[in-house]
Symmetry: C2
Subunit: 334 residues, 2 copies
Amino acid sequence: MNVTTAAKRRRNSTTRETPVPSGSVRAPTRERVEAAVQRLGYEADATARALASRRSHTIGAIVPTLDDAIFAAGIEGLQRALAGEGYTLLIASHEYDLDQELAQARTLLGRGIDGLFLIGKDHHPELRARTRARGAPTVLGWTLSADEPSIGFDNARAAASLADYLWSIGHRRIGMIAGPTAENDRARERLEGVRAALARRGVALDPRAVVERAYGLEEGREGMRALMALEDRPTAVACGKDVLAFGALFEAASLGLDVPGDVSIAGFDDLPLAAQIGPGLTTVGVPASLIGARAAEHLIRRIAGETVATATEVPTRLIVRGSTAPPRARGSGE
Amino acid sequence: MNVTTAAKRRRNSTTRETPVPSGSVRAPTRERVEAAVQRLGYEADATARALASRRSHTIGAIVPTLDDAIFAAGIEGLQRALAGEGYTLLIASHEYDLDQELAQARTLLGRGIDGLFLIGKDHHPELRARTRARGAPTVLGWTLSADEPSIGFDNARAAASLADYLWSIGHRRIGMIAGPTAENDRARERLEGVRAALARRGVALDPRAVVERAYGLEEGREGMRALMALEDRPTAVACGKDVLAFGALFEAASLGLDVPGDVSIAGFDDLPLAAQIGPGLTTVGVPASLIGARAAEHLIRRIAGETVATATEVPTRLIVRGSTAPPRARGSGE
DNA sequence: TTGTAAGCGTTATCAA
DNA sequence: TTGATAACGCTTACAA
């Protein structure tokens, strides 16, 4: 039971594209159609449209987790930009498990998504072949890649800038609470960035002063506890993510340590809380929502057949707040 | 160019349903099919399947925002449960704007979603008719409704329990930083819950001691500043959400006020941070992820034609921490 | 500019 | 149990 041919010409009013090449239909006809649309409350069936046009107007996004405010913000930005262009967002998360990420990708690809947004460059080896086979443009967020379209920043360099800053204010014994580096290029690069920056200064990142913890407040506390238990405890602790740094901050308080007096703490992300909390968290600002918005643009343009820049860099910046300060003069304190 | 008829019988291997009624095909035939599937790397086209079966195996969810950790957690729970059942999640947000929510709903409905998850009971009047017309089962999260399927809790009662507690430890001058009550039944009910609880005790909620602020840390600070500027300042401040309470906590610190010594502060949500921060935030625990998981179950069962409970209540509980204590004896202090 | 018909890749129905 | 054949509601190409 089809709607009148006329009505069929009109499409979903919430989207912005012209259903029919403008000018290919005369005003009176168009009006007649619009009237029918109104009267019948007609809404095009996107399902049929997708099958026939081989375009679903749906983008897929797979993130490690939505429980991390930084990814939630990225998805929020992506969704908003997509909605503005008549696209819809299919979302999935994998809890930092690349096998699961692949499974999710297969499902989304099977759903006919027109494009895919992924976080970072570590993925299941089969993933790339899958997206290629489906012909769905893919873009990696939160990273910059030489051989795959990406929108993000250089994690190593950003982390290095943090280490450089800590070095510049006098820290020599620096520790790090890194995120899980296995299957996570961002965590790995941030750790390596800190290591490299210190190495360039002639300071080594003591392996014992590096702990790896899952992202979480509790884990941050734990990591901090471990570092503070070291005999030669670091005077500054760089964290792979703000949540880890918040945990470290709380643990320092529990331990009766003054921040930044006894120990400096720095994070990565600049969550809204970073500016409000305790001494104010020194961190690296990541424009999560912008990454999402740029990813939307990027994908939509590629879907339209346009050529776009392979790597789009978004700005990150070191934000110095009260949680970091020069270390106590050697010998004094403690 | 179709795949062999045999292969066509087999469906996406990542989902769990039986493509063909078990037993309706003999083992040898089935094996022949599976072999073909493997060889060709066949993956059913969900788009065509959706058109033909009128079932997309996709659920839509529209939340106010993903930038609020509590909703992000709910969506995470929903997504996880859905994925386990072979369903996929289409998501949208509306920034607390019901017109936008309706627009998003129309788009998702047009996409052929099999079910819809919405937050609260305040919606655009047209929304209900739309979902009904499409025949898509809808469930409201974060609330309990008498006439619409819902999964959540009684916001008024939960807020009242918080007020009762504040009253029980001696507070009589209680203030509130509520969320925007327009178009938001949860914010409204929480405010009314506090008001009613105090009224039952013979204490009135002074209108001047009630400020309404958008959900955000900065807004919480502002609200707290306003309340503390009152000549007869409240001895306890109930907040409509944890983020507001965190802001209030930070502002109290800026103001040089001791919490809970000078003023008690309570929140609503029990975000992970509540247990870690400053004095520990007294709050109402909301099982966000559970709401999402239950919503997934609920929708899937209704889609399958099963009859399910109209209202499913999830437990909330008052969590008392260090941010609340009996008020200073009248006359002392200040 | 408008109308018509042939797919799009499944599901569903009905014969065989 | 298997095979064939309509839908499903659009888009697209082509004819009028």
